[in-house]
Point group: D2
Chain length 152, copies 4
């Protein structure tokens, strides 16, 4: 489908997204790191730990969803105005393969940016022994709340 | 919509579900507890901590999804055969209100049980100062894998 | 889950919804009728015809989705302001059983009304020989566009 | 994301899909045509008619969903065994822009084929005055029923 060359409204989008990410207690607690950040694109990475596993020892499906949701949200947030706040309206996640590996990587991109609603999609890959497998696919709707920026 | 009186195939379903839940590292790490467990029904509870918050200090949307996904999965697992394992095929979550409160409660029920596929739905409530607000709604597809029971 | 007693902002909601429904060419072409209409609730009915079947002679899954989408949209539209227009943002449909029967009935209700976004859910039943079977479940997001009412 | 070079299990997949498509009364009634068919890929086309419109005169959202659902299902069906039948388990559709134009084109591809479950995604474009706009995005789960092939 190709990545349209998105033009961010806020030239300071990178610092703004990283500040918001740093305020998410859940990201630090799970161990999520920002891999890449560009206008309309966000990559998040999460190394495996037993603390985030399900009953078979793989990454928990909810954790896979959390990574996808967060990556999709920040992909959309890169394109929002400086004074806007962002909320997830909904997301839908298909789990395609067991998330069995050492590293989880969510790659999200904006499919359709909008003043109020934005649509993102994300692919989540699991890496094991140098091999990367697509393990989840997400489609998501996000909403910009104008005039209520995130707390500094 | 009413809860049909489900008949579990495995009379030991309660112990089987609790064993599987106990093996999920993510449940202990997040602090999730089983509130109630009946055939075709599962309630999970999660007290708030800053470690599971998003940027505004509410429960993280991914954590809300994790709770809903897990509750829906175990609701379906109560009705599965003793030798079956369970996988989430997909789930879709609408976030209806900020998950702002002290306690998150996911109440899941099976909408349609099946030998291979089961469909669950879950409502997630947030409690704040004694008041309960519906904050998320989930619809989910689960799959039974026969002959590959969960590790004891 | 209970139906909250919704208070419509527009006392003329019934006539407004029926006018909008009558302008949908697809509803007449498929043969859809309004069964019931109340604040936050809409029931649509569709008798079977070979023209709306899939390859096994059941109601086509897309038609089931169309009925659910439309019922959910009009359930939300009953609660919107007189000057608002409505758009479906997204919907997710689980097909639970073959839609094999003489009549399809979608019963939709608003889960969460909102000034901009509303969330509806719908159950679709198929009737065959006097027996009613739940055949689909839908979760949906709708958006009110203010100041751009539907054409009269 | 790239289209993996899928190898069909059934060398006669093209004729098998077209036979199944021809049996869907709804496809002829709506006016849907097969645009392209390859292993793991299906393109469907639908010219505009007032009979398939919604209240603003655009393609009805349910029709957009029907086209996406059917394209995704046949994309998966190209890869199934000759003796298998196919059912849609669920689909989720985001409507990204008004489907305002003369022609609707759904392009679906299989994201993950499987013996029992397959996952497809579809993009739906609307063409108006020679311009093509992405108007919907779908994510879908399909199930193969073995040993119960479609009626000839």
């Amino acid at each position: 489908m190709g990545h349209p060359p998105f033009e961010p409204r806020d030239p300071e989008y990178d610092a703004r997204v990283r500040r918001s990410f740093a305020r998410q207690g859940a990201m630090a607690y799970l161990g999520v790191q920002i891999g890449a950040l560009e206008p309309g694109h966000c990559e998040l990475r999460l190394p495996f730990r037993a603390e985030i596993s399900q009953q078979h020892g793989y990454f928990h499906g909810g954790v896979v969803g959390t990574l996808a949701d967060t990556a999709g949200g920040y992909a959309a947030y890169t394109l929002m105005a400086a004074e806007a706040s962002i909320l997830t309206v909904e997301y839908k996640l298909n789990l395609l393969a067991p998330a069995d590996g050492e590293l989880l990587v969510a790659m999200a991109r904006v499919v359709k940016p909008g003043r109020t609603l934005s649509i993102s999609s994300a692919e989540v890959f699991v890496e094991k022994g140098g091999q990367r497998t697509l393990c989840a696919l997400m489609q998501q709707t996000l909403m910009a709340i104008h005039g209520r920026h995130d707390p500094a």
